[in-house]
Amino acid sequence: MSMGIPEIENAKLLFIFGYNGADSHPIVARRIIKAKQKGAKLIVVDPRITESARIADMHLQLKGGSNMALVQAIGNVIINEGLADQKFIENHTNGYEEYKEFVKKYTPEYAEPICHVPAEQIREAARAYAKAETSMILYGMGVCQFAQAVDVVKGLASLALLTGNFGGPNMGIGPVRGQNNVQGACDMGALPNCYSGYQSVTDDAVREKFEKAWGVKLSNKVGIPLTHVPHRVLEEKDEKKKIHAYYIFGEDPAQSDPDLNEIRETLDKLDFVVMQDIFMNKTGLHADVILPSTAWGEHDGIYSACDRGFQRIRKAIEPKGDVKTDWEIISLISTAMGYPMHYNNTKEIWDEMRSLTPSFHGATYEKLEALGSIQWPCRDESMEDKGTPYLFTGGKFSHPDGRGKFFATEWRPPCEVESPEYPYTLSTVREVGHYSVRTMTGNCRALANLEDEPGWIQMSPEDCGKLNVKEGELIRVFSRRGSLMTRVLPTERVKPGATYMTYQWWVGACNELTTPYLDPVSNTPESKYCAINLEKIDDQAWAEQCIKDSYESIRKKMGIDTAKKEV
C-alpha cells in the first residue's frame, strides 16, 4: 500500500475496487466506516453488494471481468470534463498524451454494455473521485485474481496520477493484501526475480553483493513462478526445463491452487515432494517427506503488515512434540547439502538481511522494540529514521527519472466465459470466520463451530427460482474440470447468472472447478471467473450421506479418529 492503514479514515473519498474489507480484514473495514463517519464519500465497485457497498454513496455493481473497461472509462471522463490535475501531470508523470489518446474510445457509453453499469453512473463516480480533496483507492483480489490484473492495477494507479492523488497523506493506492505475511514473504525475496528489498537477481551489482556475502556464485536467471509448476511438471517436453523436486513450506497447494485435479497429478508425478508445515494437510497426502515445524505463538520473528509495517511476533508457549523452527530445519538441510548455514536466533537472520538490504537497513530489532511498528523504507539505524508512512512524498516516484508512468491498454474478456453448456459464472471469495484454507481456523473450536462442510454457493433468488432450489439444499456444481456438491445460499447481494463460493472447504472445494489461466505478468490465476453449471439434486438424503462420508474419509486420511470426533 502506498499509504498506511490509519490514513484510510482521513481520506475525503474512498474508491473501493474489488475489495471486501468486512470479510477479508474486519479491522481495516473499521477504518472505512470511520472515514464515512468523518464525512468521506464512498464509491464501491464490486459485482456483489458487499458491506462496504451497503454504506456507500455510490455502488457500481459491475459485471465480473470488466474492470479494465470501467477504469479507463473513468479516466476518459476525468480528461474530457477537464478534471485532470494538469500541474501534477506536467511535473510528476510521463506518458499522459498516449494515455489520453488511448482512453478516448473508452467513453462511458462504450463501457456500459461491457460493465453493465449505466454511463451516467460512471460519469458521476469519475467526477466525485477527481473532485475530492484527497481520494484513496483500496483494491483487493477482485482486481488481482483475473487474467487481466496487472493492467488494472496500472490503470487504477493512472487514475491517481491523473488527479494528483499521490505524494501526500490520506491518498494514493492501496492493495489490501490478504495473508498476514504475504507482504513479508515478498519483502524477503521469496520471489523468482528478486532478493530481499526487491533487489533484482538480474542486476549485476546487486548479485555480486549477495555473492560476496554468501560466498557462492548465484544464478542470474529469473526463476519460475509457483503457478507454472504444473506445466513444468506435466507438459514440459525439454528434460532440462522440467521440475523434478518441490519443497513446499507453509502452503497447501492441493487445496489453495486452481484446478486441483491438475495439482494432484503434478504432486504425484514429481520425483520428490517435501512438505514442511504445522498440520497435516491435503498436500501432505502426496509428500515424500514431512517436516514438522513450530507455529505462530511458538517462535519469534517479524511480520510485514499490508501497509509495509514491520512488527514483532513473539514466542508465547513451548511447542509440543518433536518440532523445529522453519529456519532451523532449512539451515540443517542446507548444511547437510554442503552449504553450511547456522543461526542462533531470528535477530541474527534479520541483521544479515538488513546488512544486504538498504531500504530495510534501519529497521532494527531494538527500534522495533521501542516503536512497535516501522513502515519501510527505513534506511538509517538511528532513532531519527522512524520509517515511511506513505510513499512517493512530494510526487517523487520510484522510476529512475522519479516520474510516474501512465498506462492504458485494451480490455480483455475473462479466459473462460459463459456458454450454453456452462451458463453461470463462479468467483471464489472469503468469509469472515475462516481463514485461507482453514489449516488454523478449522482447528479452533470457537471458529470451527461457525461454519462447516461443505460450505455454500451464493446465488441470486432469481436463479434459485429457475432451478427450483431453496436455502440449505445440496446442489451439484460442475465445470469443465471437476464437480462437487455444496449448499444453496440465496442472496440479494449477487446478480443473476453470477455465483460465489469460499475456498476453504474440502468436500465443497471450489478449486476443483476453477481455471488455471494466469495473468501474463503477475502469473496470478483467474480465480474470480470461470464458467459453471448447476444441477438440482432430487435425492437430498443420499446427497447428505455423500457429504458426511466424504468428510469423514478425508479426516481419517488426516489422522483424525472420527469415531471419537463426531462430524
Partner: protein
C-alpha cells in the same frame, strides 16, 4: 500466575497487535493491544484464532514428528534421518537435472520474515536456482 505476551495476529494483513494470555504453558485467551493499525480492536479471528495451538484435532492433527514415505506409506522417523534423506534426494536431483529442476516456496503465513529470508537464501545459495515463490499469486 500467568503471563501476557505481546505479538502480531497471525491472520490477515492488517497486522493487529494482541496479547496472548498464557497459563501453565497453555494459551487461554487473547486481549487486544493498542497497535498502530488496530488501536485496541480485534476481529473474531484475533479473539479466538489461537486455539489451534491446543491441537483440538477437529480437522487435522498437529505434526509432531518428521515422516518419510517408505513403500508408499508415511512413517515417523528421527530428525537426523529426515534431514539427511531430504538433503540426499535434493542433491541427487540437482546432480542429475541441474539446480533449476528444483522449486521451493516461501510462506505468507505463520513462519515470518526471517524464515522466508533463510528459505530464499537456501534456494539461491545452496540449491543454486531462483526458483522460489509463494502464494502471493494465489
Amino acid at each position: 500466575m500467568g503471563k501476557q505476551i505481546l505479538t502480531t495476529c497471525a491472520y490477515c494483513g492488517a497486522g493487529c497487535q494482541l496479547y496472548l494470555n498464557v497459563e501453565d504453558g497453555k494459551i487461554v485467551s487473547s486481549t487486544p493491544a493498542n497497535g498502530r493499525t488496530n488501536e485496541g480492536n480485534l476481529c473474531l479471528k484475533g479473539h479466538y484464532g489461537w486455539d489451534f495451538l491446543n491441537d483440538p484435532q477437529i480437522l487435522t492433527k498437529r505434526l509432531t514428528k518428521p515422516q518419510i514415505r517408505k513403500n508408499g506409506v508415511l512413517e515417523e522417523v528421527e530428525w537426523d534421518e529426515a534431514i539427511s534423506y531430504t538433503a540426499e534426494r535434493l542433491s541427487e536431483i540437482k546432480a542429475k537435472y541441474g539446480p533449476d529442476a528444483i522449486m521451493g516456496t516461501g510462506s505468507a503465513r505463520g513462519p515470518g520474515n526471517e524464515a522466508n529470508f533463510v528459505m530464499q537464501k537456501f534456494m539461491r545459495a545452496a540449491i543454486g536456482t531462483n526458483n522460489v515463490d509463494h502464494c502471493a499469486r494465489v
